[in-house]
Amino acid sequence: MKYLPLILRNVTRNKIRSIFTGSSIAVSLFLVVMLYSFLSVQDANNEASKVHNRIIAMNVQGLTGDVPIAYVDRIRKIEGVRYAVPYSWYGGMYKDDKITFGQFGTDANSIMNVLEEYKLAPEQLAAWKADKTGCVVGSILARNKGWKLGDKVPLKGDIYPVNLEFTVRGIYEGSSSTDREMLWFHFSYLDDSLKEINAPTAGNAGIVMLNAESADIMPDLMKKIDSTFASSDAPVRAMTEKQFQQSFMEMMGNVRGFIRYTSIAVVVALLCVAANTMAMALRERTREIALFKAIGFPQSTILGLFLSEAVAIGLLGGVFGALGAKLLFEVVDFSKWVPGLGWLYVPWSTALAGVALATAIGLVSGIYPAWRAANVSVVEGLRKIV
């Protein structure tokens, strides 16, 4: 520790270089932390959904297959099921938006008991139940679209040949990792509208979402649901909410893989950058290092000094990049520009992993230059001018 002042002096002696190397690491780490947060928050949300013991039942043909609405009641009666609701993706378009957001036709009586991590004021829930065309929206969605209680939300049907107009009756809240960009409405509103025009797609619950009484009974419960409808016209497959979300990610393709490849490339590039910096520092100080050795500093100390300097620069970049990413996501709401990204934040674990990664980059990049420094020949080093 007595060498700490010397290490810091070395880091700050060529300020521009240290700042630039640090910045290079910081900017790149910022990116990596951001990309990885995407992965880790997704995983975390999947894990978190376990505690709610939720099961999704969908047609064996996938999301586009039918689940007759009568199944909801039948499932609700199966032993071990607490609540069950239809959860039908409407997919309407709001105004001139090119991209839709989550709109689900469901059951106002039970949805807050199934999605129990979301909070809705009791009087708002009551107002929603009382209004057939009422809807409840997430707080982020409401903020981004500028909706207040009582506002009309007209949506053009895309998947369904009916347009629906909703009235905002409630705004739900949730913790930072929850999806607050959804809109829930009465399934019956959509279904009745479809029946009016005799659409063949009427009566489809989309999927059935339910929660089990306990985690232990879930495997049996899923089997029971599968077998109940196995020989019907519309057999269903029950899966945990986690499996359901994974199947969604699978449809996105190998995005996770691509994020990983990119991150690896970034790390390799940073290793080069940092190693180059240390090599420059070494070249500049050859004479000085020779002097240190002439005075009697052992090789190990010189090695340590150089490595510490590299680590310090890496750490600096990591702290700014990773913690900067964390801070930015706390302060700025990106869902404004990227609808559907409201759930994204940088978890501490990912931010700290970023700092650790930067430190490791510093360490690894310093090894060769430090080894060279430790082996500088005193005689030649002292003679060397340039």
Partner: protein, 386 residues
Amino acid sequence: MIPIKYNLRSLMARKIGSLMTIFGTGMVVWASIFAFGLYGGLEKTFNTSVSPLDVLILRQGSTSETASAVTEAAAREIMTFPGIATDDQGNVLAAPELVVISYISKRDGSGNANITVRGVLPNSRLLRDNFKIVAGDDFRPGVREAIVSRALSDRFQGLRIGEEFIVQDKPFKVVGYFESGGGTSESEVWTDQRVLAQVANRTGATSSVQLRAVSKDAQQQLIDRITADEQVALKAVTEEQYYSDLAEQSFFIKMIGQIIAFFLTLGAMFAVANTMYGAIASRAREIGTLRALGFGRFSILAAFLLESLVLCVLGALLGCAGALLLGEIRTGTMGGSFTEVVFSFNFGPDVLFKGALLAVVMGLIGGFAPALRAVRMKVVDALREV
């Protein structure tokens, strides 16, 4: 002007530093090309699907074929409209088509995806330029046989020649592979329309009508006429419009690519600046001498900018070579309306050029501050530097 060999040889003299920088920028260019290539591939797939005179007719309010319906009567009427092209044999270049989704497992076991199964008529083939059977046979009408693209067959279970896949409980046998110039058709399974309609219980209506107009004017007239008829509640869009809307739904992929490229380029700029600062600091006396010999400030600026540019362009070449070495990467993602689009990364000249352009930006901006420092050195002091 200062001869370029001075800069080139100076780069060679600092082999390790230069190589590190080239390698670092190379990785950054590579990662950016990778990110651009992903979206570029998707976009290219959509673009090559477009024939400029083609029109797609869908249910009003529907943005994709999956959720669209056009009654048989309406389709028949549309096909009699004037302005539709015919081929040499007098066949009308128009076809109602039926799209059904099948939920099929991937070969690598990474889950399932929604595959578009398209029920076609003989005329459908005429509407796809470059359509041809490349292996096996075409499907026979009236039986449950299908043809697929080779790319799709490699990615999904049951889609190779001789294998079977399921649509609504019924097995279909794959009898041949087709190609259609790389468009979205190559993400589809084709089968006989009547057979598919029966199996999927979708008789009486198709999903869309595709047609080719004789001219741009005729195309517009057809679109106007179909859109104006409120009775049938259909909409007509050019194929160009349809696919550019689909591409827009994948904007997330595009944005991630741009974010990656932006941050990496910024990070690399710092690294390049660092290298150049180092180069200039250690060559202060040389710069002073050049000035004393009569080389003007501009010559010095140009020379060092050029040096930085050379570093980055070499990095770009490395990055491009790296990308080309990857060869053809096939992948797939959810391309609008939750159905799978299979495509290859696009490492075409335009994407490589974009990557190289980033390198030029890195070189010029990253090299500018250091070059400016070289220019602003006081000759008298620079000559005194050791």
